[in-house]
Symmetry: D2
Subunit: 262 residues, 4 copies
């Protein structure tokens, strides 16, 4: 299907600062192809394109003090988001490539080392990798309440395992931590999704099974019709939409994802 | 039944210090009566008897630098430890006496405020107070692994809810935190128990239902045959067997509880 | 001096609930005397007066679903808030009454056991109890930034020791935790203060030195001119202004404290 | 100087398992060159050489149930460990290569996001990058007590900032967290060190200043005479000496590092 994506935001910056934007999906991904896109920033017009260690595209720029805005518009061809097959194959650790192994280690918000017993207690009985991950996502969706304003940038999977409330970021972190505790590589994905209510940026998960990465989204019963990854990392700390080096205020933000005629 | 209780310990103290011992059960409790007892301490022979804010008996003394030992021997008549009746009545909060209400609040190791959603998710469907507490104890026994050396004096119920491993103290803290999250007053009890393997001091729980305090011990499937409370408090921080104000090393400790002829 | 105190609030309750209000100071305290007061609640007119385990006055009532309001007005004679004398005497632990010893133990938000080395490292060199507490309060005021919206009901002294930001409640918890780590009994006080900007309920500290409790307020350089305790407890968990047993929303709250002619 | 390095260990494995060993330094590093080395493993003789995402050499092997041993011997030419120059240049973030930027983000044991205010409060006044890092290392050495047995695999920089006790791993995590909070890229290094007492594997830090990585070791006043990196990562989670996928017991371990004639 063809999606029109639009993201705009305005920040108030207390001083000149270097900024990194991670709001543009790669031009071509496993399930999408960007047909056209335009990123406009003001008052700094120019944005250098760079890549982080994971290969995610980033825009680097210097913003002056005062307001800073970006507007991103894109038309993206997206394949339907495929369901995770229950028989997706769980690789023994000796078969994992180094890139996948790196996503099996604990990280800032996904302390998988602390959740090992809980993960085996809850999900150890499931047979295949696909069944385990589906059970994890189902458990998180059923046991964690989705509610804005209950968590913040310090909330981690260790908290959510017990506190049982949060937003998409928290759902994703807990899914990741459980999967890694089960030795299944899992990474955090920032992205765009069709049908979010209210519309916003989205955070979800990819797990490595059967030699490839599969989307997992515990905030939705069933399969999200379309997910477009912007960037992947160990957890949300690696893929912030914007990073700056001075105190700032987000004064306006809006995200729209809608289907358009081909 | 008649139990012989014996507890001995030796500490190496780096300097003179005030010490508080909480190793003697009250002379008369809901389920026990001390028939005779003798506490000997060396080299300080004298121990003043005092009570803490909860009414627990304490011995106060000044110990010189070097080794300090106590030896406690008692013969105690103990009624069989009664099972918690499933229909034990859960008081609405307006009926709770101030003493019970105090044990419904969160404390150092029992952060019930953080476990509210988890408690209602897991135990909210049970009807009566007794059923809820039995479900909590059963859950903790089945989901937490009893293993020495995995936890320490910093481990709290919030940790154990996720890490799922610990000793009697950790089991008790988690039971207490869940009960308080369900608005059922629960307190930590240090005490002696018949049949512990290896023998040791014990930590368990009392909950307030139907106008009285009931023993709950999640480290055992079924009913411990005999439990003798030494002291009650909000959690283990309130009822340490010994407290001193200088660095010290426990060089020897032994606890015995055995049935004797009447 | 004579102060007029007024506190009003409205809650939206999702169901009938038992409520506890702790907004009235005791009629007579170490530094104040209530000359007249009136508490009005609606739609439930009647409030039973009770006391918690610490002797704090509480109002108990049953509120119906929908809105619930209270309005408290009082005229209170207040002695000037005395400065803590630097030579205030630190009792050796054997001299502490049981009530004070209880406030030397760690609690939900004041994990003094975890701050022992930090407390001795920062404050161990100060000689008397008074000097130590003054150094603690000064350190907290200089190292912690006062900022609304940065902390929540889960934030504890252990967090604030490192995160260095919070509101009066967080300042008080950190002062308490340091004092207890230094073996100085310290308790949390909810109350009214003259000159808060913006006006609000206040949280501060009392420490036990020289046989009595002294006010300590780390949110202010110098001495707050007037502090009126409502309730004392181990930490904020013990002295909530209102407690209810159903989900609720605070839709309006206002506190005024002003000097009036005698 | 020429160093002889020897590391031996024996594990008891409960089942066949894949194992990863990270005990061999790269053949050539910024300050060392391996002249000869021999790694022997039993009963599995063969070890495949692989690299993780950071380029660290790893040995991959399958070990049978029962005991597993390795013995590593090497002769390594090592340049004296250079002091960190106080004027080492702190790059503005826009100049950092992606590899360095990755080490400026928070990780499992180095929650730099939580230590920002503390870092600026303590170290913000220092001028250059080199001065800041030297101040951080000095602070950690002076404020944290080195003591075995006080921390475990769950202890993080956030804990150590307040608890103020630990071993080399904890010292390194806290240095890293402070540096990242100051926007200075810092990574964890596992390695060998000359003169450790007792001899053991070592954990230290590298910071990115002036276009290169500099060793920092807060466990020692002055400059460790020789440090040989084995592997670098975000924190200790990335560079475990051995990783296996079954429960195991380390039954014997010994590390020796001594100077030999050239």
């Amino acid at each position: 299907m063809l999606l029109a994506v639009r993201a705009v935001a305005t920040y108030e910056l207390t001083a000149e600062t270097f900024m990194i934007l991670m709001i543009e999906p790669p031009l071509e991904g496993a399930g999408h192809r960007v047909k056209d896109e335009r990123l406009a920033t003001s008052p700094t017009p120019f944005c250098e394109l760079r890549r982080d260690v994971y290969g995610n595209p980033q825009r680097h720029l210097i913003a002056p003090p005062g307001w800073f805005s970006y507007e991103f518009n894109a038309t993206i061809e997206v394949a339907p988001n495929p369901p995770l097959p229950p028989d997706a194959f769980e690789h023994p650790p000796q078969e994992l490539p180094a890139e996948a192994m790196n996503f099996a280690l604990p990280s800032r918000y996904c302390q998988s080392d602390l959740l090992t017993r809980m993960a085996y207690d809850e999900f150890g009985r499931f047979g295949t990798g696909g069944e385990k991950v589906l059970a994890v996502a189902d458990w998180v969706r059923r046991h964690v309440e989705y509610r804005y304003g209950t968590t913040d940038a310090m909330t981690s999977a260790f908290d959510t395992a017990t506190e049982r409330v949060g937003v998409c970021r928290d759902f994703a972190h807990l899914v990741i931590a459980f999967c890694r505790a089960l030795n299944i590589p899992a990474r955090y994905v920032s992205g765009y999704a069709l049908g979010l209510d209210p519309p916003d940026f989205h955070g979800f998960v990819q797990v490595y099974l059967g030699g490839t990465w599969h989307n997992v989204d515990a905030t939705f019963e069933g399969i999200r019709p379309a997910l477009i990854p912007i960037a992947v990392g160990r957890d949300a700390a690696d893929v912030a939409m914007t990073t700056s080096w001075v105190p700032n205020t987000l004064t306006e933000q809006s995200v729209e994802v809608r289907e358009v005629a081909g």
